[in-house]
Symmetry: D2
Subunit: 299 residues, 4 copies
């Protein structure tokens, strides 16, 4: 088993690294916050006090960080992962960043004789806890084989989407559909309420036709439709993803009018104080816009 | 069994009326086109040469007509259904019209001592052929009981959505989601293609998350994704439904930015010659906009 | 001078009819509201108690009514203007309606040997008071010559836009730009406020570049920017015009994404209680959406 | 007169630097392209072979560069302007960048005891040639006084918009209105054409009401409406500005649905090959979308 360095031990990174330990990998973890390192040590991990220390001697280095700028600095910056990685090491970034950043990192890795894999994570933090994450992987075939045991230790569904960069691009497409569906559903159910329709009857119709979608069937019934707007995935994060998507589409000269309209709707929700709620609460945000009580399922 | 008058024997009305005959109802059918009446007679129906003749003596009159203006004229106009219907008769409109028209008809029926039910049809013409239609019914409870045997003869899924008008309103909500999903999917898969992703791999990811939707899973794989753009349901009809939806929402003072953006995308597709194709061909229309070959599944 | 029948003596029709009297035309006016007829009589007009009476013996009949349905009924319905107009009479509709209605009326007039002119009104009610209205006229050349003296008595700017129907179509294009500019300006000035810019300095820059527009330069400084949101032209009426525009464009298979987005913004403003305010108050509506104090010019 | 260093001698920078020379300023210019430096020398400037050489001994350093990333590197990067500027020097960035970059540069300058001014340029390259540019200036009062003589040498209209950063923010607001107007006008005139209206008659109506705007009155008649789509300001650059605007608004939690829709329309135009044309050619791009011949003024 390869020795693993793990950078970023937050709400997602920590349970993922802990699952690696549990399955027998030797993992040295680092986080900019000492408390996060201590928490990882409490879960049987070996803590490091610097990126250099976490990377030293690791065959595979995993990064799980909040945004593009931080990933770029921690992975490719001076004193970062690339600077300390042993020749032949593989760096796997599991953060959600813009695809341009991923491409730059892949190129920089290649220039130093390092392997690079992008493997952003689908599903929620609770899935990461349970080792039930979904991964969208961009990797050369040999590199995919190399990281597969780690991914199997951290998640239950693994998609090899193509060469480096393909994982991140697949995640953008996936999250566009999941996130835009929330605004589409919000408009549909607000319309139903405005037209005086009963929620449960309406849903039973929708679930039997091609009008249905994953958010409406799987996420919403236990979240906003049940009155629970505590976040699995926040409106703020959904807005961040929509921003990455719209920017990527504009860079690729592809108009996406639905994506652009959805992004403005999420921006409006954030401006009105809904940013920290679950993204199914776009229903509440849309209803609030026009003074409508959001429809709820009976208990 | 009640005697049935059936007005409108086109691509949807004819098989529905024929299914009533097959299940033992006595049906007198009329259509403005003599050939449609003759075709109905060939299916064991009794043809009529006027609305008056079809309505005479019928306990239940069914109408299945192309648009709001025609429904209003045929049902409530001089020499129309209401004018000839026997006291106590029930009129069931199964056309797709705007809810204001439905409300006006319901009120006019009540003023004449007639019962009124709206029961627009979900699913496609091929389902009507097979007696597998889905109906969204707006009716008083007693009236619903009265039409239920007919609906069971013509379809397999029957939803009692509420009082008169609720059927049509539910259909608008349902079709908004189904139709807007097509443009959303078109943007998503065009983005995937633009980003160089493999279609089949991408779909296998999407189908395993809340990014999925009924169009992408059920309709598209055998239609546009298989290169078959022959219509089940045309882009022209989908645009007509989006227009009804946007108008209804504006009348109800509910902004629906996704619906409005989707409608303009369908308008663009129609202007570029895609109006007669299946609504899953929004993928082709969106790709054509930017000179992209629409992605297809391997055979 | 031709004898004039004038139907519709509301906030716009009454001063227009009164200006005709003042310039020496013999005008018989009718309105469905007796008070409006009485008010017209107080301004030297001759009141009528029915459409028939107003039309009897008139060479030119002017209609100024609230919407398409009413125009259709009053002009072409049973007992309406066409039914009572003398052979050779000219009917001039000055209402704002959808162009399809205008075309239907023009065709119906021609079928009865009557002349038809559409001449919707630009500018505000205060301009009508002062005889300073702008007219967009659709008329055959001979008919334009015939109505020109009346138009000169009621307004100061007269555009012969083309054959019947061209006046209404020009008004739609004109109002699209005026109305959509209001939402565009609202977004611009809300952004300026959000970015901490001073309103007056910003305006002085905008007025010196091609960023300027008629609303921002002419209407806004004395209305919303001065804190006066009392209506010249209400958000409700602007929304009605946007609806006519979007419907006309969709019927003509022309996508208009800006128009569609603007319409939803006006719909949102109406839903939040701004419908009765001046359309420059879209600034206030947009700022309210995000909890921003609308910027005002210093007194 | 202060000694001036000028970095960036492209299509805008060169005539601006040359105008400084012409008015008697001692200017040392540098550009990454040696040909640009040579061309500047031909216009009486003193050429430099490095940023360091251009900055050495200058009291004021002007930068005029293509985008945020390059500005950040050239101004604040290792070996950049800040690194070589003399204590007390003033750096004036005249590029168009995102306001975050401007704020970062202003803060970095302050930390080094340098003054910072942002002064992006309005109007076109031809205005820069003639010394007729418009400048939107963000500066402390004392710094504004210091740069004013330079600005007066390069342009004819100078707005002091507020503290550092206010110039760039004002430019975003200004360009949003100018650029979005182009798509709005394109929709309006395409609708007019679709409805069969005469262009010249329609414009004469619009120019007399609040429907008018600076683009339609000033830029379009000599550009796309005259059949000249050669760029003053390209669709590509307008799209870049819209992107900065939409990003700034999303960062500021301000929804701007018109801006978002306009951006997608520009993206569509670029995807269809119009990126290099003048931004008034959005008319041609919109007409091409639906197979309409773009309307032109008669010669």
């Amino acid at each position: 088993m390869e020795k693993v360095g793990f950078i970023g031990l937050g709400r997602m990174g920590r349970p993922m690294a802990a699952n690696l330990c549990r399955k027998g990998f030797g993992v040295t973890g680092y986080d900019v916050t000492p408390e996060a390192v201590a928490a990882f040590e409490a879960l049987q991990g070996r803590g490091a006090s610097s990126v250099a220390e976490a990377v030293a001697g690791a065959g595979i280095v995993v990064t799980m960080l909040p945004n593009s700028a931080i990933v770029r600095e921690v992975v490719a910056g001076p004193g970062g992962v690339f600077a300390h990685a042993a020749r032949g090491a593989l760096v796997m970034d599991m953060s959600t960043v813009d695809p341009t950043t991923t491409d730059e990192l892949a190129a920089a890795a290649a220039a130093r004789g390092l392997s690079f894999v992008d493997a952003p994570v689908g599903r929620l933090a609770s899935h990461a806890d349970a080792g039930q994450s979904l991964f969208m992987v961009g990797a050369a075939d040999a590199d995919f084989a190399r990281v597969k045991p780690l991914l199997e230790a951290m998640g239950s569904t693994i998609h090899h989407c193509g060469p480096p960069g393909a994982g991140m691009r697949t995640k953008l497409v996936n999250n566009f559909l999941a996130v835009a569906s929330c605004q589409m559903n919000a408009e549909a159910l607000a319309l139903a309420a405005r037209l005086g329709l009963d929620l449960q009857t309406t849903l039973s119709v929708l679930y039997g036709t091609t009008a249905k979608n994953g958010q409406l069937e799987i996420n919403w019934p236990s979240k906003s439709l049940a009155g629970d707007v505590s976040p699995g995935f926040t409106i703020d994060l959904a807005h961040k993803d929509l921003s990455l998507i719209v920017e990527a589409a504009n860079a690729a000269r592809l108009p996406m009018p639905i994506a652009a309209a959805a992004r403005e709707a999420f921006s409006s929700a954030r401006a009105r104080g809904f940013g920290g709620q679950d993204f199914s609460a776009m229903l509440d945000a849309h209803c609030a816009l026009v003074g409508l009580t959001p429809p709820r399922l009976p208990r």
